[in-house]
């Protein structure tokens, strides 16, 4: 049954993710007092990329990009199939690693510099990503998603600090300003198009597709904090997911892009303070 849910994600994930990113673009435009693109624009972009000729820089790239997609899907599948959330996160990290390697393999200046930045971003987010899993473990006593959603109370009650820390790195994961240092949706970036600079045509389409999966996966992580055994909580989860996505759009439009030092220090500090503090508190509570 759960496996089926996992496969439903595989099928529906990109649609919902694409829709989320479409909504994001419309909202962004409106926040800038622009009319903005049509809601389904991301799908048009995807279709466009698939129709374009791919100028492949080297053979390795194709493989690495495919790996990127596969591991994002796997990460989502693990989550929806009710499996180990830590593995889901590992899988996510892994997929980013593939993208990074694809950029490295281009052996071109801007791809390379962005790959370095991407790695840096991963170094920024990885502590908190692992912490997410730890947070769920603390609240439910298990890494299994089935156990997490079967709790009496939603995880957010126990681990609000983890949630806050997660919000910070969510900005990084979704490549939103102020932390869009390696690849940005905004046109004018000192890194050109970041890790995707030398990726063309259908390969770029695959990257976009993976991004939708990731979008939806992130949405799901957010919702997971609010889900408990009460079926109504599912609604709360979806609502909060939407709210957080809106918050991300707002943040994107009210911040300049920061330098990497600041990103590193903010990410690590918030992880340490929010998640670490929450962890400490829970540990102390458990001890006394």
């Amino acid at each position: 049954m759960l496996y089926v849910l996992g496969f439903i994600f595989v099928i529906l994930g990109p649609f919902l993710g694409g829709l989320l990113s479409g909504v994001d673009r419309v909202f962004s435009a409106r926040m800038q007092r622009r009319q903005g693109p049509p809601l389904l624009q991301p799908f048009a972009d995807y279709a466009k990329f698939m129709q374009k000729k791919a100028y492949i820089i080297n053979g390795l790239q194709t493989f690495l990009i495919t790996g990127h997609l596969i591991f994002v899907i796997l990460a989502g599948w693990i989550l929806y199939a009710g499996q180990d959330i830590l593995l889901s996160i590992f899988s996510l990290t892994l997929s980013e690693m593939f993208l990074c390697m694809a950029a490295f393999s281009a052996s071109a200046p801007y791809s390379n510099m962005s790959a370095q930045r991407e790695l840096l971003q991963m170094a920024c987010t990885e502590p908190m990503l692992l912490m997410i899993a730890i947070g769920f473990y603390l609240s439910s006593g298990s890494f299994m998603v089935t156990d997490i959603v079967a709790q009496k109370t939603p995880a957010i009650i126990h681990v609000p600090g983890f949630f806050l820390g997660f919000l910070v790195i969510l900005v990084v994961e979704l490549r939103k300003s102020p932390f869009d240092v390696s690849t940005s949706h905004h046109a004018h970036q000192e890194m050109v198009k970041g890790v995707t600079t030398d990726i063309t045509g259908s390969l770029m389409g695959i990257v976009e597709l993976s991004e939708w999966y990731e979008y939806f996966l992130m949405f799901s992580y957010v919702a997971l904090y609010f889900v408990s055994s009460n079926p109504l909580s599912l609604l709360v989860g979806i609502l909060m997911g939407c709210l957080v996505m809106f918050l991300m759009t707002l943040i994107d439009n009210t911040f300049p892009r920061v330098r990497w030092e600041r990103m590193l220090s903010v990410c690590w500090a918030t992880t340490l303070i929010f998640a670490g503090g929450n962890l400490l508190l829970l540990t102390l509570l458990k001890m006394f």
Partner: protein, 154 residues
Amino acid sequence: MAFLPYVGRTLKNLFSKPATESFPAGERIYPDRYRGHIENDIDKCILCGSCQRNCPSSAIKVNKADFSWEIHPFSCVQCSKCVEVCPVKCLSMVNSFTEPGAEKTSIVNRFSQERIEKEKEKQRLMAEKIAAAKKAAAEKAAAAKAPAQTPAGT
């Protein structure tokens, strides 16, 4: 991340009407002075060539032989110089831009057939006049020379 001064403006923007104009769906009204493209009232034009000489961008070609005035809109920088120098004020700056296109077409304005006829007629008359004048002058010269020449020839 203490105080975010810009959030208010962003949210306000979100709920106000976009500043975007509905071009090309809705028509845009251009200000009167907007320098769009040059039009020639060819009926007034006298093909003097002043515009051609003064155009900084060499966009105008005046072809007297063909009774045509030609402008390359894809060469014209809408400086209005030609409008200023035209002695008969037949040129005007119209406030809508030249349509973009896949070819760099040029616009040729030719005199109407009847005007061409008239011009030709005029030219012919002029030419005749000149020819006549020339002839007259030649005759005069010949006449002046003749007395001197005749004795020499004999």
